[in-house]
Amino acid sequence: MTSHDRRRHATHRRQTHSNQLGAITADKNPKALTNLIAYKPPTHHLSPAPGVRLASKMSLSTYLSRFKSVSLTPTPSESLSLSQLAPSILNLSITDTPEQWSLYESLLLSALRTGDDTSARLILQRLSDRFGNSNARIMALQGLFDEAMATNNAQLEEVLKNYNEVLKDDPTNVPITKRKITLLHHLSKKTEAIAALTVLLDLNPTDAESWAQLAQYYFELSMFSQAIFCLEEVLLILPNAYNVHVRLGEISYLAAENSGGGVEKFETSLRWYLRAVELCDRYLRGYYGVKLVTGKLLQSKGTRTIPEEKVNKLNSVATVHLNDIVTGFEKGTKGFTGYDPEEVAAVKELLAADDVSK
């Protein structure tokens, strides 16, 4: 695609965005809001998780910070404690602020994850009363709800058909396109999902999220060079994304292993890892990769472009950093508590294996 095409698509996207914004303001309907305020909380079949405060007196911002402090892919216990906030959040008076609606959106996802379908239906109802059924984001949430409610594959195919109909009217509806792609992938139509995603990227080549998703789909099919290409596209949009650098290192490493391990391929992987470590201080994933790849390079025979003493030095630097991280995390030193316990365990394993081989 030429740069001219990209620019044209970018402006086109901006226009559709402003159209959506227009739709939001046009669909304002204060009457519907007041009708929905009265709400009876559903009786939960689950006992409250330990540590959940009785949340009757918490304010909107406290709820928001509860949701923000959990990652976008929460663990089941996190989802449970979030979804148990539903009755108290739904009983708050509707203030019609952006915070309130973003809280509703997060709550909807939590409710769907934990199977609290009554709350989910109510939240969705209030959202669509406020923003209208033709709003692209609401349509995507509605689709998400339908997908979650479907009990068999036939119903899922029905949802897919709905998506296709929506896209026939408006091919630039990005949220619905993304839902359609995810559903195709879920139904194990992986090649169709990839085809649809490439079409979306032709329309909208500056969307880093789509490129990253395409890389994931290619990676699942072990098409490493295509995955690497997609992640490099992400780096063109977000050059500082150190986790993408690390991902590139990981995929290059796997590609090198798969193809029998050429030295220069491991060196490419090492370069990605080193850039990631350069962009993020004391980055566990980055140093783990540096240690792993330098270990491989020291074992393998073949002509290297990076001198051996340099590789040795990098290996020892990574060892020092990883040791620091492990001891700091185990002692609970301030500034070391945020690491993922599973990742730290993996580091310990790697260091132990290194000690044995020496």
């Binding site: 689950l46 911002s61 406290t62 928001l64 910070s65 509860r66 923000k68 402090s69 959990v70 990652s71 976008l72 892919t73 089941p76 216990s77 989802s79 449970l80 996802l109 769907l112 994850r113 934990t114 199977g115 995507a140 998400l144 997908e147 979650a148 479907a150 990005v174 949220p175 792609i181 995810t182 992938h185 879920h186 880093a208 999220e209 789509s210 990253a212 998703q213 994931q216 992400v234 977000l238 500082n240 994304a241 150190y242 986790n243 993408v244 991902r247 350069e278 962009l279 993020c280 201080d281 004391r282 980055y283 566990l284 301030k334 500034g335 070391f336 508590t337 945020g338 690491y339 993922d340």
Partner: protein
């Protein structure tokens, strides 16, 4: 706060207070006790009173200036922790959980997060059915306990 800067701040504050006190005393002295020469020679009194009433002696002025500059130096060098301004250190602190982004309560969570986590979570491509199944599995094993 280090000890030298604490001492510097204490010393310069005392000096500033002393300078203020001296200036106050000086102004009192000049208004309550007009110089004895003024009634004897009224012709020089206008110029005489203006110089004694409005201008401070050089030592008080110098004391004030020096104490203020020392106080500033003390505060600047007292070394509070500066906010990270490079991506490298800020991203590292976020990943390690030393700082949390705006709106996140550091007390309810300990896990660090990254600036670009969205590229790996990808909310637009959320596979809700998979997450529901995972949760249902989890609740089967943990829910009843």
């Amino acid at each position: 706060m280090s000890l030298p800067s604490k001492l510097l701040i204490t010393f310069s504050s005392l000096l500033l207070a002393h300078a203020c006190y001296s200036a106050h005393e000086h102004s009192l002295l000049s208004t309550t006790h007009p110089s004895p020469s003024s009634p004897a020679s009224p012709s020089t009194s206008p110029s005489g009173t203006t110089t004694t009433g409005s201008s401070l002696p050089l030592d008080i002025t110098l004391e004030t200036l020096i104490s203020v500059s020392l106080l500033l130096l003390g505060i600047v060098s007292s070394g509070w922790e500066l906010k990270p301004i490079s991506l490298r250190s800020y991203a590292g602190m976020l990943e390690r959980g030393s700082v949390f982004p705006d709106g996140v309560d550091g007390k309810t969570t300990v896990r660090g997060r990254g600036i670009f986590d969205g590229l790996e979570d990808r909310p637009g491509f959320l596979d809700i059915r998979k997450q529901r199944e995972e949760f249902a599995q989890w609740i089967k094993t943990h829910g009843d306990s």
